[in-house]
Symmetry: C3
Subunit: 273 residues, 3 copies
């Protein structure tokens, strides 16, 4: 990247499954601004499907490196709120992730270096009497805001051994000889089907002329570099902006037209074995 | 609350029923930034159901105290725009609420101290020639922005006697002996059913072992402190993050599974009479 | 406008068809904040229907003059991403529009004076290795951010002759004698039907007592200044906040009740010929 990067001061990026109707996401921002009024806030998304930790992990995975260094991610998809799961802040390289330790950070941790992690058990940085049901407001938001104004990570609570952080097996792609067995990990707004075949393997798939992707009864062989280059009458393979292998349909929804869903299995055949 | 609160400079929080598709909410922010470029803006929500003043009142009620002092709330759910309803700015303790005087501020006013109120009839602080149909853009947004940059409330228009502000009966809960008759006032994104039984009465309901909640043909007796503690096979009572009594289903939607809607009556029985 | 306008420093307003579920809109903001941390960001909307360039053009048209001078609009509805369409930055009076040259800026250009335009072909202001499928993140966001921090428009790439910018015929309204043939160009969240009859012609329609609007089998003759003044039992004509002629139903959706959609033809009759 040749761009001028001038910003080393923090930003807070918010991700949740709160939706936007109830004011829950806005309230977290109100709490933050009471502590860190001058920190820019970005709504990464609040439309993660309710309780869908893996979906939240995917969006963090595809997003976090595009935010400036020192960004604090306030990420709350937290079906176990108030229960045994730990509340955590995890520093991965120069960014910090604040939220439940339930696997939401699985893909960030898998792709980055964990520098430190703490359990958010110092009540000094919580709202006065935290509710049992809304730690986004009462624990995570104030902790994220304090980090953004310079409170050290270690002040927020007891150290966590990074190896004990919860990791979910979200991106499975197994290569065996000339075959890769993978799955659809994300269906985006346009109906593009993004698979668990990662960037390096996608390069190999796309440069090998003989590869085919099997999705249910569909066999996809055409490939394109862009949506505009794709054929108009059949689905095609392309590299998604995440780097992963994807199935798309030009000016249409591959999900709708192929009847495909997140979690569906895909199989790539024809790789050099 | 033991957190460091450093912010006394204003913030503007926006709430409306404009949705996010038409650009109406964004335009209000454009107008604000032309007057108050350095004021942080928070979208509390723009997804209040169209024309649903009571729904907007609920979100303000559960949110406003979590925003910093001196926050200006720009709140527009305004089916009577351009008609006889007053355009108002109402100072409640250290926050100011700008929007139509149609009941939208009912619950804030009921729970806080009104310090002052004005009708927004000074055209100096409106856009040049206000439309008849979009006072959010032409009247409320510029007035909110001017308040945020320090224009005194009294400059925006004629004084309103606080007692004349419109109040809607949104949170009705009547106790009679051992029974409380109340209603569902909000159904959130997760399908939790939040009732009009307020925080003090909720404490009494939850500590009294014999209480039951009747909702249509359903009788709910189990209670939990958190979602994670709830049973997996039946609905349960818990204290919502607003403090109110709520009915929830673990990892599911109580609204969908019980066929319940906002406005449905509930009855709590078994209180000490 | 008599308001105090203090802001001449830039703001970035974002518009896209990315929706809010995938994090795509948030990632663009992350990229921007890495370059231009102190620039206020406004989400004008990310809910333009997928690939609907004309719908994006309408929202820009009704919004852009309400943003402060020097606003940079980052607008991405880009079905041809990675293909032959030009990536452009277009200065219209004091604002700059960054996005694909595919007609998205048609209505802004038609109503304003184009001062300069460039193709975004200087890789110095892109992310390192732009993807083929997400120029919003890799090209448009970094270019918008650089403009906001003061990089001159001419630095971003080769000049474009303004006359060659793509213009789509979105707002068609043909007057012939006493008749105007037009269409519905936007249906808003409330179900109001906004037509291509522009502000000047709307004035003429509304002051001429004998005019009627024909929409399919419906004939609409009543007019109102505000929603609150409209009749309760039939649709009526009013001036939308964009200035255009609209059809509304009080406390209801004209689109639903009249079975009308964007693109439907309307005919106004009875103008002085």
């Amino acid at each position: 990247m040749k761009v001028l990067v001038m910003a080393h001061a923090p930003v807070i990026a918010l991700l949740s499954d709160f939706g936007t109707s109830d004011g829950y996401a806005g309230v977290m921002q109100g709490v933050i601004l009471g502590i860190a009024r001058d920190v820019p806030l970005v709504d990464l998304t609040h439309d993660i499907p309710a309780h869908d930790v893996a979906a939240g992990a995917w969006v963090l995975y595809t997003s976090w490196r595009y935010f400036p260094g020192h960004t604090v991610f306030l990420a709350v998809v937290d079906p176990g709120v108030g229960g045994a799961r730990r509340a955590a802040a995890v520093q991965v390289e120069s960014r910090i992730f604040v939220g439940p330790d339930n696997g939401l950070f699985s893909l960030v941790i898998a792709g980055g270096t964990v520098e430190a992690a703490v359990a958010l058990d110092n009540p000094r940085y919580h709202l006065g009497a935290p509710s049992a049901t809304f730690h986004g407001r009462d624990v995570f938001a104030p902790c994220a805001a304090h980090l953004a104004v310079g409170i050290p990570l270690a002040s927020l609570g007891s150290p966590i051994t990074p190896e004990t952080l919860i990791r979910l097996p979200i991106l499975q792609a197994e290569r065996s000889g000339s075959t890769v067995r993978a799955s659809i990990v994300h269906v985006d707004r346009f109906g593009n089907l993004i698979t668990s075949v990662d960037s390096a393997l996608t390069t190999l798939v796309l440069i090998t002329a003989s590869t085919t992707l099997h999705l249910g009864r569909h066999l996809i062989t055409v490939r394109a570099r862009t949506f505009a280059e794709g054929p108009t009458d059949q689905p095609f393979l392309l590299r998604d902006s995440s780097g992963h292998l994807a199935v798309a349909i030009r000016d249409g929804s591959a999900a709708a037209q192929l009847g495909a869903h997140r979690g569906d299995s895909v199989r790539v055949e024809g790789l050099p074995s």
